[in-house]
Symmetry: C2
Subunit: 356 residues, 2 copies
């Protein structure tokens, strides 16, 4: 294990595991784009990808085959693999003294592992000894909590209702292929054939495909949104009511959100709070109907926030009592919802200083 | 004008105006499917369609050119045209003594014109003299209120939050062509070119394109949902909070709904109320993840209702105090949201008896 005196030394090597997956590829792009491309970066994927290369900025990295012995003390390991593999790989990496940021759900509810959005709960990166394994929240949680954070800080939040419009790429590259293939089939007058998803995705919309808890009727995506928010906010009774749905979009999620604030606030105050916040870009042109969309959010670091308005029934209350606000969000769930947040965690933990 | 003694005589002739539009075509299909195909049916469209034919069951009807003098006393006129034309045509038809059901927004907020969903407010079809012009509500209003009606009757409704996932066909045939054309372009690696919609619709999601009220920030679709519900329910302060959004679906709208009932009710009671209701089909298979989707709702008369569950934060209240329920709906907005509801209005008004 890294001794406590070494725990704040930057990592000399960065190991991206799952480098051919949608999140792995984005992590390599983000590393390069944020000035880390000059470090010693290794890209790992399953044996079936050996011989391939992946791009990291202007460099082409050979895909290396992962073994338990590749990890060294002080390495930064960025995991873009499924939960089962993440558990195994993280174990080996930590035993070798490496630091790990995991994108899977494996450790998100582990009380010993911080679950971090740097704009929201950076304090959870501290500790003595500092944590060596940090979990990246689910993409829907990240974008929602980034947008809500300025409101939570300024006014408190009593309740959140959120309906999601989630891109298929949250289910990986095969789901993107499936949407393209099914769409081609439908346009050619053929029957779409579901593979990754249980229901046809082309020109269709369906409740999130994750398993349903038969007690509550909530699917796993909805359960994550509630449970992760409660962890990140450190509020055991935070009230989040999600309804999670897939839409035929390749990339970037959208959310229709209504938040009940802890105290009344004017729309002007609310807009000013949102506009001042790192990680948020306001796109809210009412006269011209320009708002966040998944296409606009694609490849963007920021969570796009628009339609900042009162729910219609709020106008029945006098202005000084109005505590509810509705928002429309779009964000690239592969970036802020995954790869970007993972790299930002490593930066914030001082494992990967931005200006080293 | 039809004299009061004649006002309950069935119409001998049915005139479908806008017969080549998406709603007009569906009205002809619905007329045939519901046993009215043997009546004298005339199909009208703009001069550019003259010479064409349209299908009504097994019959092919020639497109006739509309003039002010085609209407006769007792005719049933089904309007599937825009609001400006609907106003003009309805005036001529009513002066000739015809009965009119209008699908446009022209008369929906006219206090002298009933706005009717037969499952919800059939009593508004009565009157002395009986109304001769009836307005068909907006498609999003119809599906929402059909699904809520059994709950409203049994428990009352205090508040409704609804996020919509609306198909492009709500904006007409050109919007369907636009979605197909843009989708082909994107799959071919080209830039999508918006025409009917201000923003790209292929593989994208955007707030409803109707104009925005600069006071409230609500778009016209959202304003309709609130104002029409208040008229139909005869509740001036009904609290409806809509967030209306387009999705890249060709046909059939979906809605994520959370209703606060007037009194507590168990999920079993709620399910039984919904299942007993005409016009609703329950699709709610939690273990297998089978739920309403726009593809499943396409060409269906019923509003599909599923994901009948508590919002997650409702579990923080003791069971006997739970008043909130979430639903997921899909419905063919060209049928129950337009053509079917129009024909059902005429049937219920005894202008078009089903078993004559």
């Amino acid at each position: 294990m890294a001794s406590s005196s070494e725990s704040h030394r930057p990592s000399e090597r960065v190991l991206v595991v799952g480098a051919t997956g949608v999140v792995g590829e984005e992590m390599l792009r983000v590393l390069s784009r944020r000035g880390h491309g000059g470090r010693e970066i290794h890209a790992y994927a399953s044996a079936s990808s050996s011989g391939r290369t992946v791009r990291c900025g202007e460099r082409l990295l050979p895909i290396e085959e992962l073994s338990d012995s590749v990890f060294r003390e002080g390495d930064l390991v960025l995991l873009g693999v499924d939960a089962a593999l993440a558990r195994r790989v993280a174990g080996h990496a930590l035993r070798a003294g490496a630091r790990v940021v995991d994108n899977s759900s494996a450790f998100r509810m582990d009380p010993a592992v911080p679950l971090v959005i740097p704009e929201v709960n950076p304090e959870d990166l501290l500790g003595s000894p500092p944590p060596t394994l940090i979990a990246n929240p689910n993409c829907s949680t990240v974008m929602l909590l980034v947008a809500l954070e300025p409101l939570r800080r300024a006014y408190g939040i009593e309740h959140v209702a959120v309906s999601t419009y989630q891109a298929v790429s949250g289910a990986g590259r095969s789901a993107m292929d499936e949407l393209r293939d099914q769409t081609r089939a439908v346009l050619a007058g053929e029957e779409p054939k579901p593979r990754a998803f249980p229901l046809p995705c082309a020109f269709n919309v369906f409740p999130h495909e994750s398993p349903i808890d038969l007690d509550s009727g909530a699917n796993v995506e909805e359960q994550k949104l509630l449970a992760e928010t409660r962890r990140i906010w450190r509020e055991r009774d935070a009230a989040i009511d999600p309804s999670c749905t897939r839409v035929p979009v390749l990339r970037a999620h959208s959310q229709a959100v209504t938040a009940t604030l802890g105290r009344p606030a004017s729309l002007e105050e609310i807009r000013a709070s949102l506009a001042a916040c790192e990680g948020i870009r306001i796109v809210d042109d009412w006269p011209n109907g320009r708002f966040p969309t998944p296409l606009l959010a694609t490849d963007q670091d920021a969570v796009l926030v628009g339609r900042i308005r009162r729910p219609l029934s709020e106008f029945d209350r006098p202005e000084p009592q109005r505590r509810r606000v509705s928002l429309w969000l779009s964000a690239d769930q592969l970036l802020k919802g995954a790869a970007l947040n993972a790299v930002q965690i490593a930066e914030r933990a001082a494992w990967l200083p931005r200006f080293a």
